[in-house]
Symmetry: C2
Subunit: 361 residues, 2 copies
C-alpha cells in the first residue's frame, strides 16, 4: 500500500525516539521509558496498532498522575529452581515484564523451565513481546496478562473478565518461528467500534447486548451496556471454552500472583487507582526434550503453509505470518504507515510535553 | 433422570471391574489394565461418555493386535530439575500418562514446576484425568495430547490437526476446583454425528465441507469429505485462534516430544501402525507464589457462579461444574446411566473375551 490522503509514513527510528522523549518528559526513568517505547514500537511494526503509539498517552498520563511508579526495581519475593514470584512495584508493565521474562530465561537455562508470576504490574503492551524475548535465546516463551473487565462469562450478562491475552513463541529453522499472540475474546473492543463507525453489522459471536444475548448490532456493545464475548461466541458454538481459557489466564496471573483479578481489575482507561495487574512469563528449553526441535517445527509449519486453501488468494498461514508480512512491508516502505488522526493527536501530545514531533518519511 | 426403555444403570464398581477383566483377557499386564480402566471409568462417571466404555474395544483391539505393548515400563530419556523427556515405549496411554504426571508432580514439589513430555504413547483417555492427578496433591496440573487428524487449519480444505485437547486443573477451598478439559475444535466429531442422526442442522462453526467452507449440513462433514473446524469456527469469528491453540498443542506434544505430529498421526481408529502420540504433563506448586491461592480461587469461582444469568434456569458455571453435577447424579442414582446399545456391544465384547458381563443396577 502506498500512502493516501488519510495516511502518512514515519521512519521506524522516529517512532522509537518520539516515544522515549515523551516518556522522559512525563518523568519516567530513562531506561524504563526506553523499555516501554520498544514494546509500543514493536506493536506498530508488527501491525498491532491498537497497542502501539495509540496507547502512548495512557502511559504518559499514568506516570504524570503518579498512578504508575516512574522509578525503582521489581523485587523477587519467592524463588525456587523453576519458579519465581515477583512484585512489580507498580512500575511500567514492560519493565516488570522484561525483568520477569529474563528471570524465566535464566531458570530455563539452568532447570529446563522457568515460570515467573508478577503482581503489582501495569499494562505491558503486546503479550508477544515477552514470548519473543525467550525466542531470541532459542527458547520457547509463554506470557499472559489479566486486563480490565470487558467480557462476559458464558451465560452471564455482566463483563467481569478481560480480553486476557496469551502469547506463545517457538523457534523454527533459519529464523522462522511460531508466534501466537491472541486475546481469549473473539475480538478486541476496537474491532466492534470500527464496525459501528462503518455503520455495519458485526458477526454473531463478537459481542452481546445488555440482555446477555449475542447481537449483530455493534451499538449493543458500545452504547447499550453490552460487552465482548469469549472466543467461540455463544455457548452452542463453544464460547464456554473461550470463557474457560480467559479464566485460566486469570488464574495464572491475578490469582496465582496475588494481584487484582476479575472484576477487581480497574476499569479500562481509568487512572484513579493502581492497576496491580497479574502477569505470567515462562521459558522452556527445547534442548531438554527431543533433539531437532527446530527442524521438526519448520517441517510442521511448511506443511501447514502448503495446504490447499479454500480460496486461492488466501493462503494458509501460521501464527506469526501476518506480523512478518507487516514488518516486511514496513521495511520495504521505509517506515510505518499511520492514520493521520493518530499523528495529529501525537503532535498535540508533543506540544504538551515540549517534545519534537515525529518527522514524516 | 430415571432410566427409560433406552437406558440402563450400572453400579460404578461393575464398570471398573468389567474394564479390568476385559483388558486382562486381551492380554494386558494386570496393573496396566487397571490404570486404563480407572481412566475410562472416570470419563463415564464425569459424563464424557465418548471417552469411557465406548472406547474400550479400541484398547482391546490395540492390545490383541500387538499394536500397543502389553507390558513394560516408560523410560526417562533426558532429565533436568524442572523437565523430563520420556519414551512411553508404546504402552497404554494411561500407563504413560500416570508415569509422566507423577514425575511432573515430584519435580513440582522440588523445583516448583515439572514439565514432562512423552513420545511413543497411545490414546490416554480424558486429558482431565492427568491434570486432576496433580490436583490430588494440592498442585495445579496441565495436560495435552495430539490426536488423529480431524480438523482443518483456518483457510485450509484439508484436515491435518486433531481435536488436540488441553486440560488444566487448579485447587480451590474445601475440595472445590477449576477443571478445564476441552478440545481445541469447536466440537468433537460425535456431536456432528448426533445432529446427522437427528436429521438436524449443525450451527455454523462446527464443521466445514470438502470445499473448506463452513457448513450447516452435518453430512458435509460425515459423508462428503469435510471435517471439523477449530474453536472459533470460520476466520471472521476467530477460528484462527482455535487453529493456533491446536497447533500449540501439537508443538508441546508431537514436535517437542519427537513423536508423530500433524498429518503423520495415524488415522482415527486405525490399528495398522503404532500411534506414537506425543503428550505433555505439567504440575505447578501454587505455594511457590502468593500465599492463599485456594482462598482466592474460591472467591473468584464464587463470584463467577453468582453472576446474573441471561436465562434464569441456566446459571453461570465454572469449568468442572458440569462434571461435578454429573458425578452427583451418578452417586444419587447408585450407578452410571448408559444407552442400551452400548451395553449390548459390551456384552458382545464380554462373550468374545470370555468375561462376566456387567450386572445392571
Amino acid at each position: 500500500m502506498s500512502t493516501d490522503s488519510l495516511h502518512v509514513q514515519i521512519p521506524k527510528a522516529e517512532v522509537l525516539k518520539f516515544c522515549e522523549a515523551c516518556m522522559q518528559s512525563a518523568g519516567a526513568n530513562k531506561d524504563h521509558g526506553r523499555q516501554l517505547s520498544e514494546v509500543l514500537f514493536a506493536a506498530d511494526y508488527r501491525g498491532h496498532f491498537s497497542h502501539g503509539l495509540n496507547r502512548l498517552p495512557m502511559y504518559v498520563r499514568d506516570i504524570q498522575a503518579k498512578i504508575t511508579e516512574k522509578d525503582g526495581e521489581p523485587q523477587i519475593l519467592k524463588e525456587s529452581a523453576g519458579t519465581a514470584w515477583v512484585d512489580g512495584k507498580n512500575l511500567l508493565g514492560p519493565v516488570v515484564g522484561n525483568f520477569c521474562m529474563d528471570l524465566a530465561i535464566k531458570k530455563a537455562k539452568d532447570a529446563g523451565i522457568g515460570w515467573v508470576v508478577a503482581k503489582g504490574s501495569n499494562h505491558y503492551g503486546i503479550a508477544g513481546w515477552y514470548s519473543l524475548r525467550a525466542l531470541d535465546q532459542g527458547l520457547m516463551g509463554i506470557s499472559m496478562t489479566n486486563t480490565s473487565p470487558l467480557s462476559a462469562p458464558t451465560r452471564s450478562k455482566e463483563a467481569v473478565l478481560g480480553t486476557n491475552p496469551m502469547s506463545f513463541s517457538a523457534p523454527g529453522k533459519d529464523g522462522d518461528s511460531f508466534v501466537l499472540d491472541m486475546a481469549t475474546t473473539t475480538v478486541a473492543l476496537g474491532k466492534i467500534e470500527m464496525q459501528k463507525r462503518k455503520n455495519e453489522k458485526m458477526p454473531l459471536g463478537w459481542g452481546q447486548g445488555a440482555d446477555g444475548v449475542s447481537s449483530e448490532d455493534p451499538r449493543d456493545v458500545t452504547d447499550r451496556g453490552g460487552c465482548l464475548q469469549p472466543l467461540g461466541g455463544p455457548e452452542i458454538t463453544g464460547g464456554y471454552k473461550g470463557y474457560g481459557l480467559s479464566a485460566l489466564v486469570e488464574i495464572f496471573c491475578g490469582i496465582l500472583g496475588g494481584a487484582h483479578y476479575g472484576p477487581n481489575v480497574r476499569k479500562w482507561m481509568s487512572t484513579q487507582q493502581e492497576a496491580d495487574l497479574g502477569q505470567m512469563f515462562a521459558a522452556i528449553n527445547p534442548a531438554c526434550f527431543c533433539d531437532g526441535f527446530e527442524d521438526r517445527l519448520s517441517d510442521f509449519m511448511g506443511m501447514l503453509r502448503g495446504l490447499d486453501p479454500a480460496e486461492a488468494d488466501k493462503p494458509v498461514l501460521v501464527a506469526g505470518d501476518p506480523e512478518r508480512q507487516h514488518m516486511a512491508k514496513v521495511d520495504k516502505d521505509g517506515g510505518i504507515t499511520y492514520h493521520k488522526n493518530l499523528i495529529t493527536s501525537m503532535n498535540e501530545l508533543a506540544a504538551e510535553l515540549k517534545v519534537t514531533p515525529m518527522k514524516l518519511l
